[in-house]
């Protein structure tokens, strides 16, 4: 009789052992989709595939709708309407567009114009794919069109107006971070308690992974030695967003000089004091905007601004040296081989 009892209890133990491995507990679900001219990946912690699917697809829709509003290349977008009517009239826009515009102006003001969404006329001159550098005269000619102070927002009427004709809004430095904010908000509305939204390199995470650990985000090495994504550091993230601006995303090298897409609004030329800047903030839009701003400002002024704003940042300067704010201690791991 004793043998049977023993046998049964052993069997029970085995079942428990196997049971603890089977996916009844919350686990991770991940999906990717091409949106906003880039690749969006959403990971959520959920009890079932169905719950995860519904929430993720809903967030994809939210990002797609927002993308249609601020698409620089589509004539139908609200952004194009604002640009077309520069110097002519104020354009009525939807709440999301108004909101992202206000966030952009906030970053512009706080950074003293290092970030400027009216950089469009200068960006337009460069062709990074065909390695075309505009002439000094062309760059100089368009500089008066670049000034965020010439954007007039009327919150009451929900309108945006560009004061000067030929001004061009380019929300490329903030739209992806804002899209991550929208997607996270939509996930939470669907009852998701933990997840990570990555709109290309603009990432926002909330809650904890199924193993009760914070999400881990790798930061790309700005000077890759091989083809696969080499990391320079990794950081733990929960309830925060991270964005990175680097001189390696869109660039060409001419006469030994690197020309990239992060232009100083005051000169129209690429800023050269940094290789890459990552900013951690509560909001994706803010992290996205400030990563550009800090890049333009350079390591010293950039770190100063980050501290003043209460944000964390990691800056890799033009020599490859890594600067960080004190708040990153314990959360950031620098990869050993760098």
């Amino acid at each position: 009789m004793g043998h049977y009892k023993l046998f049964l209890s052993l069997l029970l133990f085995l079942c428990l052992l196997i049971g603890s491995c089977s996916p009844h507990q919350p686990s991770s679900y991940k999906k990717s989709k091409a949106l906003l001219d880039t690749f969006v990946t959403i990971t959520v912690t959920a009890d079932s595939q169905d719950t995860a699917d519904i929430a993720i697809e809903n967030s994809f829709d939210v990002i797609e709708r927002f993308g249609n509003l601020v698409n620089f290349f589509s004539d139908e977008s609200e952004l194009s309407a604002i640009n077309r009517n520069a110097g002519i009239r104020a354009v009525r826009v939807s709440p999301e567009t108004l909101d992202v515009m206000e966030k952009a102006l906030f970053v512009s003001e706080k950074s003293g114009g290092a970030f400027d969404p009216t950089i469009g006329p200068e960006i337009k001159l460069w062709d990074f794919l065909n390695k075309t550098k505009p002439s000094d005269a062309e760059i100089k000619k368009n500089l008066p069109l670049v000034n965020y102070k010439n954007i007039i927002i009327d919150r009451g009427k929900s309108t945006v107006f560009l004061k000067k004709k030929n001004m061009l809004l380019d929300l490329g430095g903030i739209a992806k971070g804002y899209a991550a904010d929208l997607a996270v908000q939509a996930l939470k509305q669907k009852g998701i308690s933990a997840g990570l939204v990555a709109v290309a390199g603009d990432i926002k995470a909330f809650g904890l992974k199924p193993d009760k650990k914070p999400w881990v985000v790798g930061i790309k090495n700005p000077r890759q030695k091989s083809n696969d994504d080499e990391l320079i550091a990794r950081i733990q993230l929960s309830g925060k967003a991270i964005s990175t601006s680097g001189d390696y995303e869109r660039y060409f090298i001419m006469d030994g000089r690197r020309f990239h897409h992060l232009l100083t609004p005051q000169t129209g030329y690429p800023a050269s004091a940094c290789r890459s800047v990552s900013v951690i903030s509560d909001e994706g839009a803010i992290a996205d905007g400030f990563s550009t701003a800090l890049f333009i400002l350079g390591p010293e002024k950039g770190l100063e601004l980050a501290k003043k704003m209460g944000m964390d940042a990691m800056i890799i300067n033009d020599k490859g040296a890594i600067h960080t704010t004190p708040g990153l201690e314990g959360k950031l791991t620098i990869e050993r081989n760098h």
Binding site: L6, F7, T43, V216, I219, D229, S278, E335
Partner: protein, 128 residues
Amino acid sequence: MKETIKNTTMADRLLFLFLILASIAGIFISRDALSQGSDVSIEIDGKPAYTLPLYTDRLLSIDGPYGPILIEIQGKRVRVKESHCPNQLCVREGWISKGVIVCLPNKLVIIVGSGKKDRQRGIDAITG
């Protein structure tokens, strides 16, 4: 033989069966988790020290507490060629083309794994 079996209790036999099955299952599970590799990562004292491609032959000398440790990569395999640690387990492990060589006295771990997967293991997203 018959007598030795007779001398064991039912609990003994069940325990033995359970342990054998559990560890064999464990071997398969852990093998599944490890994919065919192309990178050699060497960790000393729990920290990553080197990552080397498996397809480049080379001889590497690392300073350990018992003197230099010679690690050899050749023909897509890796081994500890020479070590002055007392038990020599790492040297006797011989060539591996995937998996792990551990040398406790030297606090050395050599891991052969798919480089990309390995380095990004535990990474949920990449920024930049």
